[in-house]
Subunit: 341 residues, 2 copies
């Protein structure tokens, strides 16, 4: 491949100055360049297969038109859909998205901060960072949108997890459950802790009626989940009063339901199962999972917030704010009233 043609090459070929080329090709030749000259320039550009150098352009404008999306693990299907939504929104604004997997690399905060400060990146959406990570990011806080984390120094998007938890508590208490187990993700990111605390709080509002009485932790992969699900069933088997299990993620819930089937534990007869995520697998397993649906539209929202923040004129720029996104409970076959003992 030959060196790509520059605007100077085009100018030379059209027999005009380089600035005229720029004028014409950027459409700013309104009554400044003869139609004939303009045509000559355009022809030359076409002949040389000219494409403006985007890097030079960025340098000139001091803007990269690239933002980052940082997620804990892109292999979680939920994040794939978030990425798609965010991408779509960004694309519409002429902006590209690069992906960081914060799970893969513990030094990502510094890399991100450096890239933002070196104008390689206009900004970033950061999903569920830990408190430490948030602290490491303060130097670039006005080019950041945080999802499910952060203080009011940051622009944030928040899922209404508390509301989701109250829906779950209401649902289970209403069905007549009195003791629930919790199937938690380990290691427990803040997001998961929040889910769990929120559920505990919501259960607390039905005071004395319904409480979390046992819990098991598992890594977010299938093998670990199936093993932990076995442990969960052992625990439940030893305590008849536990008639429902809330899971931090649909993958855990799916594993639990599957292991139940293998052990002839009736779902939802013996135990009701509730997940988080409304992922594809929640409809693939039998019984299909009752689950808290986390809308992927958060990706779109976060991106539009970010674009506002980094593109907005200074006077337009809003103070850091908090947008709260509702979650919903999707009731499917994995939860029902506990069978009489």
């Amino acid at each position: 491949m030959k060196r790509p043609a520059t605007s100077t090459d085009v100018a030379r070929r059209a027999g005009v100055s380089q600035s005229t080329v720029s004028l014409v090709l950027r459409g700013k030749d309104e009554g400044r360049v003869t139609a004939e000259t303009a045509a000559r320039v355009r022809a030359a550009a076409r002949d040389l297969d000219y494409e403006p150098n985007a890097v030079a352009l960025n340098l000139k404008r001091g803007r990269a038109d690239v933002v980052a999306l940082v997620v804990p693990t892109i292999t979680q299907p939920y994040f794939a859909s978030v990425l798609v939504e965010a991408e779509k929104e960004a694309r519409g604004a002429g902006c590209d998205v690069i992906l960081f997997d914060s799970g893969g690399d513990d030094d990502w905060t510094h890399r991100l901060a450096r890239m933002v400060r070196s104008t390689q990146l206009d900004g970033a959406i950061v999903w569920a960072p830990t408190d430490d990570e948030v602290a490491a990011l303060t130097s670039i806080r006005d080019r950041l949108v945080l999802v499910e984390a952060g203080s009011d120094q940051f622009t944030r998007i928040d899922l209404q997890i508390e509301h989701g938890a109250s829906l779950v508590a209401e649902h289970l208490a209403g069905l007549g459950h009195r003791r629930v187990g919790y199937f938690a993700v380990h290691p427990a990111r803040e997001t998961y802790l929040r889910r769990r605390r929120a559920l505990a709080d919501s259960l607390g509002e039905h005071d004395g009626v319904i409480v979390e009485t046992c819990s098991i932790e598992s890594a977010l992969d299938l093998d670990a989940a199936e093993q932990a699900a076995g442990a969960m069933l052992d625990a439940i088997g030893a305590d008849d009063s536990v008639t429902a299990v809330v899971c931090d993620d649909d993958l855990l819930a799916a594993a639990l339901v599957t292991v139940c089937a293998e052990r002839d534990v009736a779902v939802p007869g013996r135990v009701s199962v509730v997940g988080y995520g409304d992922l594809t697998i929640s409809r693939l397993v039998r019984p299909q999972l009752t689950t808290v649906s986390l809308p992927p539209s958060v990706g779109r929202l976060a991106m539009s917030s970010l674009l506002d923040a980094v593109r907005g004129r200074p006077r337009t720029r809003r103070t850091p704010g908090l947008v709260s996104v509702p979650v919903t409970l999707v009731e499917r076959a994995s939860s029902a009233a506990p069978q009489q003992l």
Copy 2:
């Protein structure tokens, strides 16, 4: 946020020239700058929180250190793992990855070509493009790695689908199956057509013994798949001789197995099911799926090929080549000898 400090700011503060700053900070001051001066420069840089402007740097070097990964749909779990692998490899070479979803936008070829030619992107990995798409990309062919597609003008990575197909054929024929159904993805990208043709060829080698006799198509989403799976079972119900179904994707296979369970069709007793992908769901459904495993390491391979191609010195640059990656058959519980009729 204030304007970030430039090397000129640092120079001013250290009381030296801007070029000295560059020398010191890039570590090229070997016996050229006094230790004392160097220290002063470094101190100034630290004070000002200086970060070299990456865009200026790229302009200077004519390289972006960003490549794209183009996949048909990132929401397919397989591609998420591919992305992770590719990312890891790129990161190691100081390169970032941006993602294109070719499914989302039919003009992506032009966008990609423009970005490459404008030096915004050093190159790209393109997954399973159609022939038309390949044609649209020839202008940037030496900065491309194609996966599962393309002619020998391109650097390519290929899955050994034919070999996979022969494993499947061998497996099913060996178990005693004589008539198989095909559960295909619609719309049929070249990748899928290849899978299917390859299977037909492999079955043909067991001439007259085993053949594909019926097929159903479905979009790659769960609702469509479950509906199509129903149709497949109707077809099979009407023809006892069909005792196995090969599916273009584990999602289809999972849906089929699930619908079988609902209709009390025994798997693998009445019908064996084979999928493609070895995705998480293949181990979540019961029976677990026999499936052709497509190694995510292809992502790593493709990225290292690409980096070679775009980073390599001209004299080092290899001619376009073809790397072929083996696939394997993972035998699980969804396939077995057909039950005697």
